[in-house]
């Protein structure tokens, strides 16, 4: 994984719903959802703002720790024809956050020595993309290189 390539990735276009998330990312903050009624956390999902625990409507944004562990990951070896062929192979995974929720499928970055394994601790990092929007990635923390792996 070549971190210099991150700036060549196509930017998402923030919409009304996701604007606070990307605004926070530009300040190097990771936002997740929280229920105003029961306090349960949730990873943001497009088009849905109801708490899955108590069904209260109106999930709010809250700052997350940005720390977690890799629940699972895959190294993907090809890209669609209309994507950058040099992007592959790349890492996607699901991160279990300290807040007790799992992310949707998200971009992962290996440790500086290339290490990546299920169970590795990760922390959120922020990088600008091609059109300038800053987005979060989860990077294996260097301290853990050589930890119990897959």
């Amino acid at each position: 994984m070549n971190e210099e390539r991150l700036v060549q990735r196509p930017s998402p276009t923030p919409d009304l719903e996701s604007q606070p998330f990307f605004d926070a990312a530009s300040r190097s903050e990771l936002l997740v959802r929280a229920c105003p009624a029961c306090g349960a956390f949730a990873w943001p999902v497009a088009g849905f703002a109801t708490c899955q625990v108590c069904w209260a409507h109106g999930l709010e944004w809250t700052r997350a720790s940005g720390l977690g562990v890799i629940h699972s990951f895959t190294r993907v070896h090809s890209v669609p024809k209309d994507d950058d062929p040099a992007w592959a192979p790349f890492l996607l995974g699901v991160v279990e956050l300290r807040e007790g929720i799992r992310t949707q499928i998200i971009g992962l970055l290996p440790a500086d020595d290339g290490h990546v394994a299920v169970g590795d601790p990760v922390e959120v990092v922020f990088h600008p993309t091609r059109e300038g929007v800053i987005v979060p990635w989860f990077k294996v923390t260097s301290l853990t290189a050589g930890s119990v792996g897959a």
Partner: protein, 411 residues
């Protein structure tokens, strides 16, 4: 006794359990680009009605498997087929688990006398001439939406099924030490069966070395861990168990159907993709059928990817959770093995018709008409369907014998 089939399109309350009386499978050994999914659906239903020698006027019910785009073949199939005055009509959608849900619903309707003859169909035509699978309708959507959908595209996630199943398989490997070679054993076994199936798309035998040499898609999956893509359709015709005995084909009794949908709230403590709905669905289907795992003569397990077979075997209880790798590695799933599985090649090597691939091969085996690949003395076939990305599950027990309960899916 007057069977519902002989006289009317509604069956009469108190009908016996349900049975599969007709099967139609379009030719999927070659890619057909000249037909739509709607045409393929019509072709399969005609083949299935010919198979049980019933005229179209006898059809009282039509159930359609909602396909990927959920728009191409729906309830409008009724008018395309010129079917009038149906008493049961629906398009159902639980991905690869839909076939089981459809068999269950049709069984209920038949047993309650709401329809006497019901057609169930899956049809799709994702492949287009001159383009590869990646450009089929199962391929990558061109252009992602804004917001969080756009963010997924930034990462390189365009919704590929391979990525989602790979995440489950990768975690299984982490937890239990499952290997790519063990997954490969499933692919090799199924290709062995496909070699004996004239309906199969891929009949050239493969070795574990071929599997290991096939190109990597999304780790741990190589090309030969992935299912095919097909333009085709499968239809089955269902009627009451009593009516089935008067029809030309050997009846295939629906002895049990279970569903299981564990849900994934995405919270700590849920190990999504490791335990699937097969746990609940399998138990329930066996309970209704009044049989145990030891009575199962053949398995038709939904195989979107090799891993789907492995985790389903564990969840059904053929081996303990985590032991699926060593369990499949000895070749027991293949030709001559002790646990014949996906005896037509499945979706990895046979043809890709979602839950109708395992269902169709289950019918062929329970009838005893599988020719070279026939499992000897095949009475009970356990058929699975898995939809979403291991989200939804259905299990059907199809049997040559009717069973003492004879109450089918209502058991």
């Amino acid at each position: 006794m007057t069977s519902g089939v002989a006289t009317a399109r509604s069956g009469g309350v108190g009908a016996s359990g349900a049975a599969i009386v007709g099967l139609g499978v379009t030719d999927m050994t070659r890619h057909r680009y000249d037909v739509t999914a709607l045409d393929l659906a019509a072709e399969a239903i005609k083949l299935a009605m010919d198979d049980c020698q019933l005229p179209k006027t006898r059809l009282g019910g039509l159930l359609v498997n909602g396909n990927m785009m959920s728009s191409e073949v729906r309830n409008d199939l009724q008018d395309a087929l010129g079917l009038t005055d149906l008493t049961l009509l629906n398009t159902m959608s639980a991905g690869g688990a839909t076939a089981g849900s459809m068999v269950q619903y049709a069984s209920f309707a038949i047993e309650r006398g709401l329809a006497s003859v019901v057609a169930l169909v899956f049809a799709d035509a994702p492949l287009r001439k001159g383009t590869g699978v990646a450009d089929s309708r199962y391929g990558i959507p061109k252009g992602a939406g804004p917001g969080f959908e756009g963010l997924a595209r930034t990462y390189g996630d365009r919704g590929q099924a391979s990525i989602r199943y790979a995440l489950a398989a990768s975690r299984h490997m982490h937890l239990f030490g499952t290997t790519s070679e063990q997954l490969g054993a499933i692919a090799v076994a199924q290709r062995g069966w496909a070699a004996l199936n004239p309906w199969a798309q891929m009949r050239e035998p493969i070795t574990l070395e071929d599997h290991q040499a096939s190109r990597m898609i999304a780790e741990p999956f190589r090309l030969l861990d992935c299912c095919l893509t097909s333009n085709g359709a499968v239809a089955v015709i269902m009627a009451s168990a009593d009516a089935a005995k008067d029809l030309p084909q050997p009846p295939v009794f629906v002895r049990g159907v279970g569903q299981g949908h564990p849900g994934d709230p995405g919270r700590t403590g849920r190990d999504f993709g490791i335990h699937t709905g097969a746990v609940q669905a399998g138990k329930e289907a066996l309970r209704q059928a009044e049989i145990g795992l030891e009575d199962v003569d053949a398995l038709q397990i939904y195989d979107s990817f090799t891993y789907t077979v492995l985790t389903t075997l564990e969840d059904y209880g053929f081996c303990a959770k985590g032991e699926g790798g060593p369990f499949v590695a000895d070749g027991r799933l293949g030709v001559g093995g002790s646990l014949p599985c996906n005896t037509g090649g499945g979706q990895l090597s046979g043809y890709y018709a979602w839950g109708f691939t395992p269902l169709s091969e289950g019918v062929v085996q329970a009838r005893g008409g599988a020719g070279e690949r026939q499992v000897p003395n095949c009475d009970h076939v356990m058929v699975s369907g898995s939809g979403g990305f291991l989200n939804y599950h259905s299990t059907i027990i199809l049997s040559r014998t009717e069973g003492s309960g004879a109450r089918g899916a209502s058991g």
